[in-house]
């Protein structure tokens, strides 16, 4: 396995060097992912290639270890340094372990950014989050409103455990932004503990106790699935809708049954696209990527760098009947 990985790496290195000498003036960006063979990252690569084509004169080297280990990524980083890439965009397996290797890359003038899964502050110029808590909270409300006639009516939240940090942050954001949606009324928040059976029962309970609730928002994959099933089994498809955050492959069934019309999650294609765009602007010195600066990211618009050098790409991407099958094949 190890020998094979090294061999593969060596071959890739050789090929890359060969390709490099062929087109010397090309900008080379290493898109380093957690592991190869993962649909999510294949999709990100698709976006990166799209950006490369759009920008012109950019070569994206899509690479990563065969297993999700920090050691594997360090080897790949060293290989990328040897290939004299101009930038590395990494989704890290470990926020700290890869920092020394990335620092070495930075000393050689390579622009390092992280995306999807962050690297410690010292190891990168900036980190690109797929979204922000604020945008996710807003998106959940937007989805709830779009399932209600005129965006007015009662909805309930089905969360994971009552102590889950990200869930509570998103719910707090939803409550904060609720005034932006007049007529949207949050009735209650229930907790399914990310267990299929408990989430199912909680959703059933909502249907029974709150006949006016027309939308159940579940910002958790287990919850959104279980609630869809509960609505379907109760024969309330068309009367009560379920929406929230989920993966297309898991949600495709619920979308086709009609229990949910739309749901959201980040789009890996856009993420790969934006990471490549940002890396390119850094290489061309169009920006320094310092907190407060704004970076042009092509079709994704301008991305603003916030505190700690962290940036939020965009609203979570909305999936519906039209595109869910296409993305279900990817992740």
């Amino acid at each position: 396995m190890k020998a094979f990985a090294k061999l593969a790496l060596g071959t890739a290195l050789g090929l890359a060097l060969f390709a490099g000498s062929a087109s010397a003036q090309n900008v080379k960006i290493g898109l380093l992912v957690k592991s190869l063979g993962n649909g999510f990252f294949e999709a990100a690569n698709k976006g990166a290639q799209e950006a490369a084509k759009e920008l012109g004169g950019v070569e994206v080297i899509y690479t990563g270890p065969t297993t999700t280990t920090a050691e594997g990524q360090i080897e790949v980083i060293n290989a990328l340094i040897a290939q004299r890439v101009d930038a590395i965009a990494i989704s890290a397996n470990d926020p700290d372990a890869v920092v020394p290797a990335l620092k070495r890359a930075a000393q050689r003038g390579i622009k390092v950014i992280s995306w999807d899964s962050a690297v410690g502050k010292d190891g990168r110029i900036l980190h690109l989050n797929p979204s922000s808590n604020e945008l996710i909270g807003n998106m959940c409300l937007k989805l709830a409103a779009s399932h209600l006639p005129d965006g007015k009516g009662d909805f309930a939240i089905l969360s994971a455990t009552s102590t889950s940090t990200n869930q509570n942050t998103w719910i707090a954001e939803m409550k904060k932004q609720l005034p932006k949606y007049p007529g949207l009324n949050l009735v209650t928040t229930v907790y399914g503990d990310d267990l299929a059976d408990k989430s199912y029962r909680e959703a059933q309970g909502l249907l029974k106790s709150y006949p006016n609730v027309k939308v159940i928002v579940a910002p958790t994959t287990v919850g959104v699935l279980a609630a869809s099933q509960a609505v379907k089994d109760a024969g309330k498809i068309g009367q009560v809708y379920v929406t929230g955050l989920g993966l297309p492959s898991e949600m495709a069934g619920a979308v086709h049954s009609g229990a949910t019309k739309e749901f959201a999650i980040w789009n890996p294609i856009d993420l790969g696209y934006s990471a490549t765009q940002i890396a390119y602007r850094l290489i061309k010195n169009e920006t320094d990527g310092k907190p407060g600066s704004e970076i042009n990211a092509g079709r994704m618009g301008k991305i603003k760098i916030g505190d700690n050098g962290e940036a939020a790409m965009a609203d979570p991407f909305v999936y519906d009947k039209k595109n869910v099958d296409e993305f279900a094949k990817i992740f």
Binding site: S162, V190, Y191, L195, A196, D197, K198, Y200, R201, E202, Q204, G205, L206, K208, S209, L225, A226, Q229, D233, S249, E250, A252, G253, A254, H256, A328
Partner: protein
């Protein structure tokens, strides 16, 4: 013999459940409607089936902590078979689920019978092993609704006479187990082996082998529940039914199955499971803060067990075991002999 199915203790538990339903119905109108009650029974079906398997094991003075992990592995296995080969007929898949479950149960039974590992340790180990195997099998990936065939998903939720097939399955299992435990040699052996292993040995009963078959029965029922669970929630992933083994033990304990073995009835285990089912279904509709829910359900369980424990103390049929307790050296020697 029939009187064992419904003794005073079961009547008391049934009364407690009825009072609970009445109280919940007062707070949430419609909770006691026939439709809602059928719903609760259907929702509790899986727990009832698992509790009956657990009961067989507990009767022989053992415990099976691996039932939920077994359910997870078997559920994942049949879901993946269904996804990969949609042509396999459903009855074959269900037989596969029973067989895989029984095989995993047999592993537990073998370790307890032939290697002599205490049941709690052996099944605590296999609990992790089986879940780990489910992970290896699936590579951590989910089997989703769209990958499963419609018949695979719809069979347990088809309604017959107002109750889904899932509920009828539980009724069928209850009937089969009730007959097995009260009317067959194997059933009576379970009670004898747990009630007094020493006496059972002198009566020519192979205690170890009885435990082995109890584990196999528990495993087979867990396997069946693997299919039912995956079909009910229309998704298979490694963490399904996490922690559910404790619910099955709780159902048995509430139902008056003595953890010391040899005492308990099918009716008790079923009522114990229904008791938990009623509470689980009531908590979401009676508007209690989620922060209180866990504390309340735990408290109610302790109260129910207290009632049962007092009942048990009044009974005077443990003479043989009490006598054996006074001569522990004898018991140890015999138990060792029985295990070997």
């Amino acid at each position: 013999m029939m009187s064992r199915i419904l003794t005073y203790r079961e009547l008391l538990l049934a009364a407690i459940i009825i009072v609970l339903i009445a109280v919940f119905a007062y707070r949430a109108p419609g909770f006691a409607s026939p439709e809602s009650l059928a719903n609760i029974f259907n929702d509790t079906a899986i727990l009832i089936i698992l509790a009956l398997g657990q009961m067989a094991v507990i009767l022989t003075r053992s415990i099976d902590l691996s039932v939920a992990a077994n359910l997870s592995f078997t559920g994942m296995a049949v879901a993946m078979m269904n996804a990969a080969y949609p042509g396999i007929p459903l009855p074959v898949l269900i037989l596969c689920a029973l067989a895989i479950g029984a095989a995993l149960g047999a592993i537990n039974g073998f370790m307890v019978w032939k290697i002599g590992i205490p049941a709690i340790v052996a099944t605590l180990g296999t609990l992790t092993v089986y879940r780990g195997m489910a992970f290896v099998l699936s590579g951590g990936a989910w089997v989703n609704q769209t990958q499963m065939t419609p018949i695979f998903l719809d069979a347990p939720r088809t309604s017959v006479l107002g109750l889904p097939v899932l509920g009828w399955t539980a009724i069928l299992v209850i009937a089969l187990i009730a007959v097995t435990f009260t009317r067959t040699v194997f059933g009576r052996t379970l009670y004898a082996a747990g009630g007094n292993p020493t006496a059972a040995l002198y009566a020519g009963i192979n205690v170890g082998r009885t435990r082995f078959f109890a584990f196999m029965l528990s495993g087979a029922l867990a396997g069946l529940c693997g299919y039912l669970w995956v079909s009910r929630y229309a998704v298979a992933y490694v963490d399904i039914a996490a922690g559910f083994e404790l619910d099955t033990v709780a159902a048995c304990v509430i139902g008056g199955i003595s953890t010391l073995g040899g005492i308990g009835s099918v009716g008790g285990a079923v009522l114990g499971a229904l008791f938990l089912g009623v509470i689980k279904n009531a908590l979401p509709v009676i508007n209690i803060s989620p922060f209180w829910q866990m504390a309340i359900s735990g408290l109610v369980i302790i109260i129910a067990v207290l009632f049962n424990a007092r009942q048990e103390r009044r009974k005077g049929r443990l003479i043989l075991r009490d006598a054996a307790k006074q001569r522990p050296s004898l018991v140890n020697a015999q138990a060792g002999g029985a295990a070997a």
